[in-house]
Symmetry: C2
Subunit: 206 residues, 2 copies
């Protein structure tokens, strides 16, 4: 949705917590959720494993902390905040949503589906994804609201539009991570173009 949180950057902060987060992220991408253990996270951690155990109760405790740290970074931001105006942001968001990620991003997308699968029976994951959905949905709504203010988008209900778009993006990610076919990104993008044209763009916008 936006550049990764600074603690995931190679030249990110070197405090213990940031290092544990980086180790957890790397191990999650490498092993996926099902095969992840605190020991495997420890293998990615440059300091003593005992530090990981001292900070977290187990792999779920640590993974929820990772997800929350990543989410903190996105909170209050609009999606794709490198892009210029509201329309460009929305287009960039949709472009990214239909483009299958590769490498570590693909591994993380898959792992995220596994972690979502914990939410029905694990309250901590559930609380996190409740917050995550609010944050991302609000970011999209804000872009739409700004576009309406600038006369680029029509006077639609920003929250309603964001709810539909965000559910669609989540569905695409889910289907991509759990099937061999993936999703026909070009087809989806073309239909989203038609939707934006028909429902969102102000009449005098080309």
């Amino acid at each position: 949705m936006a550049p990764a949180p600074p603690f995931l950057a190679e030249d990110g902060p070197e405090d213990t917590e940031a290092e544990i987060m980086r180790a957890a992220y790397a191990a999650l991408c490498e092993h996926g959720y099902a095969d992840l253990t605190i020991e495997r996270i420890g293998e990615e951690f440059p300091k003593s494993n005992s530090l990981v155990y001292r900070h977290y109760d187990g792999k779920d405790d640590l993974l929820v902390a990772l997800l929350e740290s990543m989410l903190d970074h996105f909170e209050g931001r609009e999606p794709c905040d490198g892009a210029d105006g509201p329309r460009e942001r929305l287009e960039t968001l949709l472009d990214r949503a239909v483009t299958p990620p590769s490498g570590e991003d693909a591994e993380f997308e898959s792992a995220l589906v596994e972690l979502r699968g914990q939410a029905p029976h694990n309250e901590d994951y559930r609380r996190h994804f409740t917050r995550a959905d609010r944050v991302f949905r609000a970011g999209i709504a804000e872009t739409i609201r700004r576009g309406i203010d600038q006369g680029v988008f029509r006077e639609v209900d920003p929250d309603r539009t964001a709810t539909v778009l965000f559910a669609l993006l989540d569905g695409l990610r889910l289907q991509r991570a759990t099937t061999d076919d993936g999703v026909d990104g070009e087809a989806v993008r073309a239909e989203l173009d038609a939707y934006v044209e028909a429902r969102l763009l102000a009449d005098d916008t080309e």
Copy 2:
């Protein structure tokens, strides 16, 4: 999407396989995936547990068989095949998609998200969900195709439209099963109405 498979009906067939499937479905709804064991499935089974073990290698083997049996029932059908014409089918599908299920249906929806979460690391689940997505997407596309033939819908690309709608429905289910907020069904339905109006309905349809 349609009435449940006959083997799940109370007066369904009484052969051993159907009884195992019913037991697996009941136990999955009651315990969810994470807490499910073959023993717990056996508790729902009227005959000797050893029969379950004789037929299936473990809980995943049995659950994939359950999912496949359910899917067999939907294969080749259009969604909501009780409804009259293509437009009514589509409307019924969208109505159902935004209505949170209750009771056992809600429990099954949650369990399905847990099972989807196995697909990134388990090839059998992945193969099943690949097939499932094809079947459901094709059913929606068929409804749209029929609507175009009958002049109710415009000459859209049925597969493209079905891909987007189906991803959206999956996203709604995912968000509902993994968050406390759920999804604002009324808002989504209103936006879907607007979408159908703007993109699908033929000009002379009211």
